[in-house]
């Protein structure tokens, strides 16, 4: 399933073009601000809710992503939609003083939470913070050795534009890793997951973050996100090679990888 449901050749983000925001249809020009509202609302409780929603398993998904990244000392890493900086913290130590990590997020609230968290951990020397839209990254061509995007791509209005933009900023030989919710491989798991997502998750959001709607959007946006094979095709369309993916926790989450040669 494509993020864009229209076939109109009209320019991007022009009024009238529709896209989904969860299960709702909205103007493309509105989606970014609607997503921003969601993350403004949940930023303060983001880490707590992640731990609660996934029972801490999100830490293992992210660790697996880091293991697959092949990041080494001296590398330049871009962590898009880095949110509260879970991946950036690890990458900062992995690249060492000779490398650098750029934490990019379109949402200023999330970026501030991430910056404060990383500074509290004493991580200051090799991290840059950039408020940036994944669809038009403000970096020169061939800049980064590794680009990661964990749980961010489904919120982007034009996912293909984001993949194209990432491809541009990656150095030849660099790799992209996208960790994102996906489609469970088993029907039984899928049914259980639906019950959890649409009945339990919004209530948890209401109790912990006092925000049921944002967590209902989370569940809906996951269902609207491209499945594993579709996203792999989008990687290939952007120009990535040797694309593959690994299903984690029965396909609830998938890690997609692609290389720029």
């Amino acid at each position: 399933m494509s993020d864009s449901d229209t076939t109109s050749p009209a320019p991007e983000n022009s009024p009238g073009q529709q896209t989904h925001f969860g299960f709702k249809q909205v103007d493309k020009s509105q989606k970014a601000s609607l997503v921003a509202n969601v993350f403004d609302s949940v930023a303060a409780k983001y880490d707590v809710m992640n731990d609660l929603m996934s029972l801490g398993v999100h830490r293992l998904w992210k660790r697996y992503t880091i293991d697959c990244s092949g990041v080494r000392a001296g590398h330049k890493v871009l962590d898009i939609a880095g949110g509260t900086g879970d991946l950036t913290a690890k990458f900062s130590r992995m690249v060492g003083p000779t490398g650098s990590v750029t934490l990019a997020d379109i949402n200023l609230s999330m970026l501030k939470v991430g910056r404060d968290k990383l500074r509290d951990k004493g991580l200051v020397s090799n991290i840059d913070y950039v408020q940036a839209d994944a669809e038009s990254l403000p970096f020169p061509d061939n800049t980064f050795d590794v680009v990661t995007m964990a749980f961010g791509l489904r919120n982007v209005t034009e996912k293909q534009n984001a993949l194209d933009s990432i491809y541009r900023v990656l150095k030849p030989g660099g790799r992209l890793l996208v960790l994102e919710f996906s489609k469970p491989a088993s029907e039984h798991l899928s049914k259980l997951y639906d019950i959890y997502s649409f009945h339990i998750l919004p209530r948890m959001g209401q109790v912990v973050a006092n925000d049921e709607e944002s967590y209902r959007y989370l569940a809906e946006s996951i269902r609207m996100h491209p499945d594993q094979e579709t996203l792999k095709g989008m990687f290939e369309q952007a120009g990535f090679e040797q694309c593959d993916y690994s299903n984690l926790t029965g396909g609830i989450v998938a890690l997609h990888r692609g290389y720029k040669f």
Partner: protein, 210 residues
């Protein structure tokens, strides 16, 4: 869920927890800042990378041993060995001897391996002190005294079991019935059974004649 991620997460949490129990470890860790040790154990399917900063990060190494060795830099040491050799690595003086014995392949900076050996070999931890922060001095002391008593009892039971097994192997087994003797006995029982059957048949035949 990849088991490797769970394994490295657990190992990383344990290592950093243990290091916090020894205040002096911070100094030894500082000497390793910015360096990394890639460890390939024969028993594990992939290597482990230990990255040293103010803490130790442990990750699965995606590259093979030859790939790491081919691309090694001055901030990295790569070791290939087996789990049984690991405890010996805490004694820095044994490193060169282990390399000579071919129990250890070491590439890159030897000094990193020596510093890592010192980091863990010189650990001076007091778990009772650590536990007392959470449950109080008396409870912590009692918990450790009980654990020590349990350990002694367990060691006694294990000692008796080991002695029993040793006695069985060294004393009783040699005088026990061997496999050949058992086969011979079984053959003799079979012959005796056949003789009895023949004898019964003959008796029955004699009864009928009378």
């Amino acid at each position: 869920m990849p088991a490797s991620a769970l394994f490295t997460a657990t190992a990383e949490a344990a290592v950093n927890r243990i290091l916090t129990l020894d205040e002096d470890s911070a100094g030894r860790l500082a000497a390793l800042e910015g360096q990394r040790l890639v460890l390939f154990l024969d028993e594990l399917p992939a290597g482990l990378t230990l990255i040293f900063s103010k803490r130790v990060d442990i990750h699965t190494e995606p590259r093979s041993h030859p790939e790491v060795v081919a691309d090694i830099d001055t901030h990295t040491c790569c070791i290939r060995t087996s789990v049984s050799v690991l405890p010996k690595l805490t004694q820095t003086s044994q490193l060169t001897q282990l390399i000579r014995q071919q129990a250890l392949d070491l590439d890159g900076e030897l000094s990193i391996a020596q510093k890592v050996a010192a980091l863990f070999g010189q650990l001076d931890t007091d778990p009772e002190e650590w536990l007392s922060d959470y449950i109080g001095d008396i409870a912590a002391h009692q918990a450790f005294s009980s654990a020590e008593k349990f350990k002694q009892s367990l060691m006694q039971v294990l000692g008796r079991t080991r002695a029993g097994i040793t006695n069985t192997i060294t004393e009783e087994k040699p005088i026990g019935v061997g496999k050949l003797a058992m086969l011979h006995f079984s053959d003799e029982v079979s012959i005796l059974r056949d003789d009895i059957q023949r004898f019964e048949a003959r008796l029955n035949a004699l009864d009928k004649e009378q």
